[in-house]
C-alpha cells in the first residue's frame, strides 16, 4: 500500500471531521440543554444545503454570502418547530419525544423531495470550488480547508460562549437543573427555544458547506442524523467538549475504510453503521 495514499486518507479524514463536529455539536446542544434527542437534526443540515443551492441557482447568490440568509432561516425554522411541537412534549415520555422528532424528520425530508426532486443537486461554476493545493503528493481542496477551519472556529466559539456569555451560562444552568434555573429567575422555555434554534442554525451552516463540497440529495439527512448521534454517543451524551475528538475518530475511520478496503467507497457507510451498532451493544454490555 502506497504510504502517500494512507496519508491522503488521514488528511481527508481530519478535514471531514470539522463538518461532522459542527453538525454533531448542534445535536449535542439539543440533547444536553433540552434533553431532546432530535431525529430531525440531519434534516436541518439537508435544508441548509438545499436553501444554499436554491439561492445560488435562482438568485445567483454565492454560497459564502448565502450563509447570511441560510443561518437566520434555519434559526427561525428551529424556533418555529420548537414553539409549535417540541415545547408540548417536554414532559412526555422519552419515546414520544423521539417519535415526534422522527415525524418532523419525515415531513422535512419529503417536503424537500417534493420541492427539489430526488436527484443530487450540484452548485456548478464557482471558481474556488476547484482550487486545490498539493504538498508532498497530498492534495487538499480549498473548500474543505476553509470548511474545516470555519467548523472548528464555530465549535470552539460555541464552547466559549457556553462558559463566557450570559446566555451560555443560562443554558448550562438550565441543562443542570431545570427547576433550580427557573427558581433563580431564568426563563427556561426561552432558553430552550434559543438552544433548539441555535442547534438548527449550526446544522444549517454545515449544510451550506456540504452543498459546495458534495452534490447532496434530499435523503442525506437521516445518514447525518445517525452520524451525529454516534459522535455524540462516543463523546458522551450531551457532552460538547468531547465532540471534536469523537468526530475525528469517526471521520478518520470512514476515510481509511474508503481508501484501504477494496470497493470501500460503497462499503464505508455499512462499516460506519456496523460501528454504531457494535458500539451501542458493547456499551450496553459493559455498563452492567
Amino acid at each position: 500500500m502506497d504510504p502517500s495514499l494512507i496519508l491522503q486518507a488521514i488528511v481527508s479524514g481530519v478535514l471531514a471531521s470539522g463538518l461532522y463536529a459542527l453538525v454533531s455539536v448542534g445535536l449535542a446542544l439539543a440533547i444536553g440543554v433540552i434533553g431532546i434527542v432530535n431525529f430531525a437534526h440531519g434534516e436541518f443540515f439537508m435544508i441548509g444545503a438545499f436553501l444554499t443551492y436554491t439561492l445560488f441557482v435562482v438568485f445567483g447568490i454565492d454560497p459564502v454570502l448565502a450563509v447570511l440568509f441560510v443561518a437566520p432561516a434555519l434559526f427561525l425554522l428551529g424556533a418555529v418547530l420548537y414553539r409549535s411541537t417540541i415545547q408540548h412534549v417536554l414532559s412526555a415520555p422519552e419515546l414520544n419525544q423521539m417519535l415526534l422528532t422522527f415525524g418532523i424528520g419525515i415531513v422535512l425530508q419529503n417536503l424537500a423531495l417534493l420541492i427539489w426532486g430526488g436527484d443530487p443537486v450540484s452548485i456548478a461554476g464557482i471558481e474556488y470550488r476547484s482550487v486545490g493545493y498539493r504538498f508532498a503528493g497530498i492534495s487538499v481542496g480549498l473548500v474543505s480547508l476553509v470548511s474545516f477551519a470555519v467548523s472548528l472556529a464555530l465549535v470552539i466559539g460555541l464552547n466559549l460562549a457556553l462558559t463566557r456569555t450570559r446566555l451560555g451560562r443560562a443554558m448550562r444552568a438550565v441543562a443542570q437543573n431545570r427547576t433550580g434555573a427557573a427558581l433563580v429567575g431564568l426563563e427556561v422555555n426561552r432558553v430552550y427555544l434559543v438552544a433548539f434554534a441555535l442547534s438548527a442554525l449550526l446544522a444549517g451552516i454545515g449544510g451550506v458547506m456540504i452543498a459546495v463540497i458534495q452534490s447532496p440529495t434530499p435523503t442525506i439527512g437521516l445518514a447525518f442524523t445517525l452520524k451525529a448521534f454516534s459522535i455524540t454517543v462516543l463523546a458522551g451524551l450531551g457532552n460538547i467538549r468531547g465532540i471534536l475528538a469523537a468526530s475525528l475518530v469517526v471521520a478518520l475511520s470512514e476515510s481509511l475504510v474508503a481508501t484501504l478496503v477494496p470497493n470501500g467507497g460503497t462499503l464505508s457507510n455499512a462499516v460506519f453503521f456496523a460501528i454504531i451498532f457494535l458500539a451501542l451493544v458493547w456499551r450496553s454490555r459493559r455498563t452492567v
Binding site: T85, L99, I106, L113, A274, F277
Partner: protein
C-alpha cells in the same frame, strides 16, 4: 374462555375477507382490479403495523422492522432462484429465517433501551441492506436485485372470462394470502393480549427491574416478542416479493417500511389489536390519495399523522375512543346513582 369470545369476531372478519373479492367483482366490475390491490395494500399495512406493535408491547421501539421484512423477501427470492422446490415453501421459510435473525438481533440488543435501542436497530437494518447488496451477484443479485416468479398464473379462458379478469384472479390470490397472514398475525397478537404474557409484557415496558423482581424473565419475554413480531412480517415480505416480481436491496430494506410499521399503530392505538388494524384501514386510504397526487414524497402524510398523533392523540384512535367511552359510562353510572339516592 376469553380467547373463545374473541374467536367469533375473528371468524366473522375472516369470512368477510374471504368474500370481499367476489363482492368487489360483482359490484365494481372492471374497476375491482384496482380496488382489490388497494385493499391488499391496506391488509399488508395492517400486518406490518400489528406485528410491529407486538414487540412494542415490551417497550422496545424497533426501527428494524424493514430488516425482517427484507430478509423474508430475499429468502424466498433466493430459494426460488436456486432451489427446485415449490414456490410457496419460500413463504414460511422467509418467516422462519426472519425469526432466527430477530432472535439474534434481540439477543445482542437486550440491554439497550429507548433511543439507544432505536438507533441500534436502525443501524442494523442499514448494515443488512448493505450485506445483501454486496453478496455475490450470482447468488443474491447485487444492487440490481433478483426477479421473482409470480405465485399465481391464472389461465385465460375466452369462453368464460373477460380480459381484465386475469388481473383480477391474480390479485385475488395475493389478497387471500395477505388476508391469511393478517388472521395469523391477529391470532399471535391476541395470544399476547389474552394470556399472562400481557401482564409480563406490560410489566417489562413499565419497569424492567421491578418486573424481574416479580418473577418475569425480561430476556426470555423480549425474545419471544421479537420472534412473534418478526414471523408474520417475514412472510409478508416474501409474499410481497412474489406480488411485485422482484427484490432489490434499497426497496426491500427501505426505511419507508419501518416508518409505515410504526406510524400506523401509534395513530390507531398502541398495544392493542384493533388499533393497528383500524389505523391501517384509514392510512391506506390516505396513502392512496396522496400517491395519486404527489409523485415522490407521499410519506409526508405519514410524518404529519405521526406528529399530530403524538401531540393530540397520544393514545391513538382506539385508546382515545375507549377512554371517552369509559368516561361516558362512568358518568352515566354516576347520574344513575344520584338519581336513586
Amino acid at each position: 374462555m376469553k380467547l373463545l369470545r374473541d374467536l367469533l369476531p375473528i371468524a366473522a372478519f375472516a369470512l368477510f375477507l374471504w368474500f370481499l373479492p367476489d363482492l368487489l367483482r360483482a359490484f365494481a366490475g372492471r374497476a375491482s382490479v384496482s380496488y382489490l390491490s388497494l385493499v391488499t395494500n391496506g391488509v399488508g399495512l395492517a400486518i406490518l403495523a400489528l406485528s410491529w406493535d407486538i414487540l412494542a408491547r415490551t417497550g422496545q421501539l424497533s426501527l428494524a422492522h424493514a430488516a425482517f421484512y427484507g430478509t423474508g423477501a430475499y429468502v424466498t427470492a433466493i430459494m426460488a432462484r436456486h432451489l427446485d422446490l415449490p414456490l410457496w415453501i419460500g413463504i414460511p421459510a422467509g418467516g422462519l429465517v426472519a425469526v432466527i435473525l430477530a432472535l439474534g438481533v434481540g439477543a445482542v440488543t437486550l440491554r439497550l433501551r429507548g433511543i439507544y435501542f432505536a438507533i441500534a436497530t436502525l443501524a442494523f437494518t442499514e448494515v443488512l441492506k448493505s450485506v445483501f447488496r454486496h453478496l455475490p451477484t450470482p447468488f443474491a443479485g447485487g444492487a440490481a436485485g433478483i426477479n421473482v416468479e409470480p405465485l399465481f398464473r391464472p389461465v385465460f379462458d375466452a369462453a368464460t372470462m373477460e380480459r381484465w379478469e386475469i388481473a383480477f384472479f391474480r390479485n385475488e390470490g395475493y389478497f387471500l394470502l395477505y388476508a391469511l397472514l393478517l388472521i395469523i398475525t391477529i391470532l399471535l397478537s391476541l395470544i399476547t393480549r389474552r394470556s399472562r404474557l400481557r401482564q409480563a409484557f406490560t410489566a417489562i415496558r413499565t419497569n424492567e427491574e421491578v418486573a424481574a423482581i416479580m418473577g418475569v424473565h425480561p430476556a426470555r419475554m423480549k425474545l419471544l416478542a421479537f420472534a412473534l413480531s418478526s414471523f408474520a412480517v417475514g412472510m409478508l415480505g416474501a409474499v410481497h416479493a412474489h406480488r411485485v416480481g422482484s427484490v432489490v436491496p434499497e426497496g426491500s430494506f427501505s426505511v419507508e417500511t419501518t416508518v409505515l410499521a410504526l406510524v400506523t399503530p401509534i395513530f390507531g392505538g398502541l398495544y392493542t389489536t384493533l388499533g393497528p388494524i383500524v389505523g391501517a384501514g384509514m392510512l391506506a386510504g390516505i396513502e392512496e390519495t396522496l400517491k395519486r397526487n404527489l409523485a415522490d414524497g407521499y410519506l409526508i402524510g405519514y410524518g404529519v399523522v405521526l406528529i399530530l398523533s403524538i401531540l393530540f392523540l397520544p393514545k391513538g384512535l382506539v385508546g382515545t375512543t375507549r377512554a371517552w367511552w369509559r368516561r361516558r359510562q362512568s358518568k352515566s353510572m354516576d347520574t344513575a346513582e344520584e338519581g336513586s339516592a
